[in-house]
Amino acid sequence: MSADESASPWESATPQATNPFETNAGRGSMSVENIFSARLSSDWGLDTIAAVLVVVVAVVLFPLRFFVSSVFVQAIPLIGGGAGVLYLVTNRHAGAGRRSNRWEVAPSTVHVVRMSTIVVFSAMVFVATVTGGRTVPFFAVAALAGMLVLAQILFAPRTELRPGIVLAQVVALAVLVRAAALLTTPGFIGIDAWVHVPDYAQSIRSSGELSAIADSKYYSAPLYHLLVVVASEAFGSSLRTGLYGTLGLVMPVSVVLVYFSTREFLAVRWALLATAAFAGADHVVRWGVHVIPTSMGLVFFLAVFYGISKIRTVERTRTLYAFVLLGIAATTFTHQVSTFVLLVFLGAGAVAQLAVRLAARRDRTTSSVGSGNVNFAGLLAVALPLAFAGWSIAPARGEDSFLGSMLEIADTRLGEMGFLDLSSAGTVPSPVVQELTTSVPTSVSLLDSLGFFTLLLVALVGSLALLGRDHVDQLSLTLLLAVASMVFVTLGAPLFGIYFLIPMRWYAFMYVPMVVLGAFGLRYLSLALSARQFVAVALVFTLCFTGPMLINHKGTPDNPVHNDAYHQFAFEESELAAAETIGGFHSPETTLYADNPYSLLLRDWQLLTTRAVELTAEGEIVHETTVYRDTAGDGVTQARYGEEMVKVPLTETQVCRESMTVAYTNGEVKYCRATR
């Protein structure tokens, strides 16, 4: 399958016309390529106004860096301003006929890169086997593999761009990156999985009743747990194998839906770019290794996004609506947060639908509200009651329903919110504790977020370019509004101290429309810049996106690259054995203190009463019963100081004092009690 298969309108490539912003005439009236074909505005169009606004907002937000140390607060005004300026400059200087294909490399080079990618994939397997998992050398090789795939996508001539082969490479890379973590880490990666699988799924498996989790909010959203139970029984295996053999496999495969969704907007090259970017994005990898209901929710979100993208271009819309509704129902019965994100997306679509309708009425045209549009309002009318019904019957701690609980939390938190009320503003540690604790160095934090910033930059450029089109259609407007609302939840709401929407869960979902806009942004730059300039941009994107995204701490909970700045959310065999044995003899009534996240494992898996160890003002730990593990001393872990969690490497003598009785040891973990 090559990119220039003009026989099929769905596979046709971007036209290599002399006018960079001309419509792709080859796609006909139903074509969506022309939805995104940009127009250079010679006057002050919507895009120019928006770009200027972005720059103004960036300038206004710039001084925040003097009040808040968050790397996001420091960098995002620069990213926004940079994107605005970049768009204004390219838009101003992009003249007709500047486009050329000179940035495409020779077919023989593409062949060498394609073959090299296979070798590097094999090297990933080798390095993971020899070093025992996702280590720094593994990430170096994986980043190289990612760059080779992106290089093929960005620099291959149209005739040499084989979407089938590139998609296979993207999926293979996604599988390797995730499998290297899943197969080399004992137990589960992350903390929540220890509740979902050994507790909820095991309860259902043991009792043979869904009512075994009747006191959990997942009682009304049990698809994940039921899949794991049915799969493990069908496999005759552990729940872990059941999980990894089903959802663990589906996660990397599902990224292909991004390709098919983006193909409804863009040509093959840019659809492949969006897919590769999504597959390698930090939070997407995160839900591929920390496989919980959020992961399954993300898969269903992708399915809904795909269905909606496709509705406007197929003739069998009724059945496609049925498919979308199935996706909505599946999301509702899987995960509450995913459902909320989906509702926001559908809400953005409904607003876009209304806006387009109003604009059409004002212009006295009907073209914009024709059959090509998606009935988001109708979808929302089904999704909202379904979601609210699910949330109403889902129990929550201390409340009759999950919905009641969330409304109460929202009421409380919204009442307490204030501007710049960041979580960093808390108890000021004593000088001794300050000396003990570590904070993430700015350089590490920047490197960690560089991939996201790169994606945000190109997505912003893409958004502005989208506004520069002759006609902003409903689906384009939906993408813009969806990204804007999701960016507000992830980056804006925390500025006001609003965390109850769990912004960290939104990133992977936000990336779905973001990669489409990002691909469009790069496409715009490929048209607006000279060949040499675009090669520079493409290389910078490849370098700044691939490696940093792969090593981001959210995507590497099993083994963070900067383990002196971010703690590990995975456990060694000895730590799991210790947790199980300690769970066997420690009384659940007695509070057990350990580092965080080990205390969470003991709480969630062994159902013990645990808390994170607390540092006194003198930097000591004075609890009666503690657990120390060597890993807590090797890298950074978390302890409490007042009501704050601080990052600190803990020593054995701190946690298990000399005077304490060591009642358990396996060489890596010690259980200690103060002698009475």
């Binding site: 399958m1 298969e5 026989a7 596979e11 073959m115 296979i118 070798v119 094999s122 397997v125 080798f126 086997t129 089938g164 998609l167 043979g208 869904l210 049990p222 698809l223 994940y224 747990h225 899949l227 139970v229 049915v230 069908a234 496999f235 005759g236 295996s237 053999g245 089903t246 496999l249 589906v250 495969v253 599902s254 292909v256 839906l257 098919f260 399954m296 898969v299 399915a303 496709k310 496609l320 498919f323 199935l326 599946a330 065999e573 054995a577 044995t581 003899f585 000399e658 005077s659 304490m660 009785t661 060591v662 009642a663 358990y664 040891t665 396996n666 259980y671 009690r673 002698t675 009475r676």
Partner: protein, 310 residues
Amino acid sequence: MTSTYPDTTGSNRTVGLLAALSAYTVLAVSALVLADLPTLVRIPVAVPVLLFAPGYALVAALFPRSRRLTSGRDYETSRSRGGTPDEFTTLERAVLAVVCSIALVPLVAVALNPVVGVDPPLVLVGVAVVTLFASLVGAVRAWTGPVAPSRGPTLRERLAFTVPTDTVTLVALALAAMLLVSSAAVALTGDGGDALETEFYFADGSPAPLETADTGGETLAYDLRISHHADHLQTYTVVVSRSTGDAGELTGAAVTVGPNETAAATVRVSRAAIDPGETLEFALYVGDGSTDSEGPHRVLRIGTNATAGP
């Protein structure tokens, strides 16, 4: 060759594929439910049932493949004859099948729960029924559905490629094979990290505190556990000693633990032998004990009793 008459090849292929899928699902579910298969066989048999078959059948029912109008590749020519294109590529259908399957399987379990609870074998039977029904609907719709022009090369045509034999390809494949074989060798011959995992602990996690006051030679009994996580028999020796003073070793015991088993060992210590402020150490040695030059394998400790002593 072009023809203005509907070509039923596409429909035949779709119906055949759905029939084969249904047959496989029935056979696989029967084997999974009725036969006592080992896990290594069950997994490859079950994966298509859980991750592909029901979803593929559903996609076929929702979006049946249109019959092909011609066998030619010229889309525009075909379209001009009034055909409806198949709007989903083969890969698209395959990915949708996977996504739909992971929704359908648990939804079947949800549907059956009020009747029979969560009974995985019955859920598998339910999945097979859903697959059969959806396949039937898909087959009927494919047979009676709209006529479509060709979308381009068939899957077979797409897969028909010649194996490249140029130097770059051969070198790359050789390197990849070498790396993969090396990986397999490392995986098979590796020691898997710490080969000997031993847990050593007091049975109740709360050993009796040391009471250093003279109680006339009364002994303290300590109930210990040794968990041996390895596939071979292992002898351990427990040596109890004081942390200070010249008396050194107080008592000891040898314990043999079976593969992946936990053994108990009880040691008794005279209270009179322990001076105030001392700690008691329980050292676990691999083999016969204290001659081990590397020191004890594991060490437990009973700390100072702050309230005891003269």
